[in-house]
Structures are given as C-alpha cells and as structure tokens.
C-alpha cells in the first residue's frame, strides 16, 4: 500500500502584490489538504476564492508565500514532480497551427516519449477522447468541446498518475460535458488520481469521492461527498413500479409508528442533462456516451 498522498498541500499561503506593490492580496489562507492515490477530489468555490491559485501552486506555476505543496511526495516546484502529472487548464488554447495528432505528439515528445510507443499512444488517446476522425485537422477549426478533449488527451499522454483539471467542462455542450464526466469516471476506475475544480456542482457531485469547499482563500469544509451532502435525519426510498396500494401501506405504516413523517413524495425526476441527451442524441450515440 502506497502511503504517499498523490497531492499534499500543507498550510499553503499565497500573497499577490497589490497595486503599486503597496498592499499584498492574500489569495490563499493556510489551506491544507491531501488527496489519496486513486481518489477523485473536487475543489469548489466561487470566483476568486483561491481554487485556481491552489491548483497552480500544486502544479508549481506559482510559488507558495509560505507552506508547501507536493505531488507523490515530490516538491511541486521541482520539475521532477511533473513526470506524474497531466494538466488541463480552463479554456485551453493550444498551438492552433498544429493538428490534433501533432499536438499530442508534441506533448508526448516533451515527456520523453518517441517512436512506436508514442505513435500508438497518440492513436489510443485520440480514440479515447473521440477525436480520431479529426486527427489531421488543425486546432484552428476546433470547437470549444473539441479543444477541451484534445486538452485531456495531451494531459494524459505520458500516462500520468495524477490529472489536474481546471473547469474541465467550461463552455462544453451537455453531450461533450457528459463524455468528459464519463472519461473522468473511467480514469478513476483505472486508478488515476483526479484533482478538479469546477463550478458545475452537479458534475462534481457525480464524479468526486471527496470535496473541498474554498471561500475567500479558506478551506471552509472538506470531506467525503456522501457524508457532506447527506441529511442525517432524512431517508430516501426510491421504488420502481410501486402500486398505489403499496404506497398507501407505506404511508399507513409511517402514521402508525409516530416516529417519522413523510416529508414529500412524488415521481422520481430525471436530470435536465439526461433529458437533453435523450432528446438530442440517437440511440446508438447515447449508448456510446453512457457506456
């Protein structure tokens, strides 16, 4: 069992110089968190709460004012730590003059890959993100969703153990968004650690094992998602094909005990995303997406 956390943030403080360097702005205030290998961790918070700064500190793009960050036990500021990490920035813009395959090849080469192994990896990744038909198209003509997917492909090129995703579905339509969500779940099944920031709370809820809520630079709450969102004194039972008779029996049972009450009941609801997908996708495609 590997005890080294995939990501460790210890008492991270980050100050930015204010106007005319007179007053510093403290973007992150003593944040500490740990992400275990294989975990999907979501950092959520409003704009300007310090999510991206924390993420950038983990990636070594900003240096902590105090505290430390590490990836698999290695100081984030050291280049060595980046062997194990893939990063997808928010709204990524890659070299527009390159094709999809050339983009993945470029990043692969930067990671020291070459030859047949790299060639095979490019094909594998483009298939994984659903861009095999666009492999020879230049990124100039790519939609936001396609750029996001090529961003994921480049992030995964060296088969990293940690993926850092900043708003992975920003600007992506619900279909693309679902594909990215499914991809994250697939990566989780493969044992890859995912650290993501998102405003889309529903999506975070669907994919994350643990969540941290950051507000004004302070990590105000953190824990396992199911523990954080469960309402302790309420229980949900979802029945399929329940007859009116059966429902009456349940209501009567609750009334008889006097120890509980039915707060609400009605038809279970689908999500708007599911409805959208059902209405806009063909059967075959829907199956492929939800596979």
């Amino acid at each position: 069992m590997n005890d080294v956390p995939a990501v460790e943030v210890k008492n991270l403080v980050k100050d930015f110089k204010g106007a005319f360097r007179v007053k510093n702005v403290r973007a992150v205030k003593d944040v500490s968190l740990q992400i275990a290998p294989g975990e999907v961790y979501g950092l959520i918070g409003p704009n300007g709460s310090g999510k991206s700064t924390t993420m950038k500190a983990v990636l070594g793009l900003v240096a902590p004012t105090s505290g430390a960050t590490s990836i698999f036990g290695r100081n984030s500021l050291k280049v060595d730590s980046r062997n194990e990490v893939g990063f997808l920035p928010e709204n990524p813009y890659f070299y527009k003059h390159l094709t999809a395959a050339e983009t993945v090849r470029f990043y692969g080469k930067l990671c020291g890959m070459r030859g047949r192994k790299l060639k095979e990896r490019i094909g594998e990744l483009l298939e994984l993100v659903g861009l095999q038909d666009a492999r020879d198209r230049r990124l100039r003509g790519f939609s936001k969703g396609m750029l996001q997917r090529i961003g994921l492909a480049q992030a995964m090129v060296q088969d990293p153990r940690l993926l850092v995703l900043d708003e992975p579905t920003a600007g992506v339509d619900p279909t693309g968004s679902r594909q990215i969500r499914d991809l994250i779940l697939e990566l989780k099944n493969r044992g890859i650690t995912v650290f993501l920031c998102s405003h889309l709370l529903e999506q975070v809820q669907q994919v994350c094992d643990r969540v941290g809520i950051i507000h004004q630079g302070v990590l105000v709450n953190e824990g396992r998602l199911d523990e954080l969102i469960s309402v302790e004194n309420r229980t949900e039972i979802i029945l399929e094909n329940a007859s009116e008779n059966l429902l009456d029996q349940i209501r009567s049972l609750v009334d008889v005990t006097h120890q509980a009450e039915v707060v609400s009941e009605g038809n279970a609801r689908t999500t708007l995303e599911d409805l959208f997908l059902r209405e806009t996708m063909s059967d075959a495609k829907r199956k492929a997406v939800s596979k």
Binding site: K56, N83, P89
Partner: protein, 310 residues
C-alpha cells in the same frame, strides 16, 4: 509504477523539440511570404542603372556592384533584425496569453529548455531566410558582375589598355562579386539578428505586452548601432583626447555590456560591401562575441523567467 526519474536541468533533445515546434509555428504563420517582396527587390535592382554613371567619362562598375551589395545586405539586415525582434516578442507572451505555456511547463520541461528552444527556433527561421536571401544575392550579383566584366573588358579594349591592365581591372571588379568576404557579411547579419532576438527574449520575460517588447528591443537595436560613437564622444577626454578615467571606464564597460555593440557586426558587413580583406580570425572573433552576448542574455532571461509566476 512510479516514473519519477530526475529531470536534467538541460536537455538538448527537449530544446530541439521546442525549437522544432517554434519553426513549425513560424512557418505556418507564413513568415516566409515576406521573402517574396525581398526576392523581387533583389531581382529588381539587377535592372537598376545608377543615373550618375550614365554620363560618366569612365565606367565605375565596382561602385555599381557595391551599391547592389549595399541594398541587398541592408535589406537582409532590416529583415533579419526586425524578424528577430517581432517573432521573439510574439512567441512567449503569446504562449502566456493563450495558456499554452501552462501545459508546457506542467510537463517535465525545465524553463531554461523552453527559453533556449524558443530562441533557437527563431534563430533557425532567420537562418533559413538568410540562406534563401543569400542564394538570391549571390545569383543576382553573379549575373551583374559577369555583365559588368564584359562591358568593362570591351571598353578597356577599345581604349587600348594592355592585357595586364585589363586583367588587373577585371580582378578589381570580380572582388566586388560573390566572394567569401560577402558571405562573411551575410553571416555577420545573422549573428547580429541572433543577438537582437536574444535581447527581445530577455525583454519578453518581464514585459507584459508585445508592443513594449518590440519597442524596447528596437530601441536597444538602435542604441546598439550607435553606442560606440556615443561612447567615444562621451567617455573620451575632449581636451587631451587621452584615456578615460576609472569612472568613465566603468560606465563605458557598463554601457557596452547592457547594450550590445552592433557597430562591430556592421564593420564586417561594411568590409564585405567595400570588398576589403576580412580576416577569418575577425569572423571567428565576431562569432565568439555573438555567442557571449546571446549567452549573457539567455542566462539573464532564465534568471527572470525561472521565478516568474503564471
């Protein structure tokens, strides 16, 4: 399985990957289209008969060839220097603005490798452009030299000059044709453009806008071209004309370190235009000087860039 091998501070392979990508980027930005008007100019001046020679009593073909070289080398100098500034100024701020830099620096790529790779890429494109322009220059100059040799031989024959006199005159004209010295002139321009690109690289590491980088680099280019004249005027005792004192010497050294002395590069090109004898050792020294300048600016760039936050 862990792959946490330590990353070397410097890797030629990684540098070449970044350089290759920069070349592809610039080529696909169609920068070589600028060579078309330059090619037209080079071919066009072939047909330019300088008006002040028309009524001259004696032909001065070497002056005409000198003018040909002057225009072509001047064009090459402006193109290579401006290209060195603009391309370098666009690339790194562009990568920061597009956040492409995030994805590159989040791979195991030391910042030094990235900077050197970008600079090498720009230098490679300048080199390719210079080779194309050089081939055009050599070709057009060759035809013009042959033409002038034929004209002069005919005129001198009619005047009854001896064969020895004609041969001497031909040698003088041929010295203004495509020679090794001319290649030294072209090489000096390439080295100068490389130094300017390194200056632009340094400025782009702390500048927040492309315009600022281009304007400041252009200013350094201009200052560098005139600094030796200015230093001579400022730091030489006007009365005795003697050696400068210690303070002046320090100031002199400081200015020459901060601003590269481009006059040194131009002296080789001027020699090539005038068909003077440029020594191989002069060229080697100039190459060494350019390498020192580029080295200093790259190290300074890395010093600024290594702690830069994005």
């Amino acid at each position: 399985m862990s792959r946490q091998a330590s990353i070397s501070f410097f890797s030629l392979r990684r540098i070449l990957i970044v350089a290759q990508s920069t070349v592809t980027q610039l080529v696909r930005m169609k920068v070589f289209y600028f060579l078309a008007p330059i090619a037209l100019l080079f071919v066009g001046i072939q047909f330019l008969d300088l008006i002040w020679y028309q009524g001259a009593e004696t032909l001065q073909p070497e002056q005409e060839l000198r003018m040909h070289k002057n225009i072509c080398l001047g064009t090459m100098m402006v193109f290579s220097s401006m290209f060195g500034i603009v391309a370098t100024a666009l690339l790194i701020p562009g990568d920061i603005e597009d956040r492409t830099l995030y994805t590159i620096l989040c791979k195991p790529v030391p910042r030094f490798d990235y900077l050197v790779g970008k600079l090498l890429g720009v230098m490679a494109v300048i080199f390719i452009a210079m080779v194309v322009m050089d081939v055009l220059l050599v070709a057009t100059l060759h035809f013009r030299t042959e033409e002038k040799l034929a004209e002069a031989t005919q005129v001198w024959g009619k005047r009854g000059l001896t064969e020895v006199e004609i041969a001497a005159g031909r040698a003088e004209i041929a010295a203004h044709g495509p020679t090794l010295i001319l290649q030294y002139g072209v090489m000096a321009h390439f080295l100068k453009a490389s130094v300017i690109a390194a200056v632009a690289l340094l400025i782009s590491t702390f500048s927040t806008s492309t315009i600022f980088t281009i304007a400041t680099s252009s200013m350094i280019w201009i200052i560098g071209s005139f600094q030796s004249v200015a230093r001579e005027a400022l730091f030489t005792d006007p009365i005795s004309g003697g050696d400068p004192n210690m303070a002046e010497r320090i100031m002199n050294t400081f200015v020459s370190l901060v601003f590269p002395d481009f006059k040194l590069f131009e002296s080789i090109t001027d020699g090539a235009v005038r068909a003077e004898n440029v020594l191989h050792s002069d060229m080697t020294q100039l190459g060494g000087l350019a390498a020192i300048y580029v080295g200093i600016y790259v190290v300074l760039s890395w010093f600024v860039f290594s702690d830069k936050e994005f």
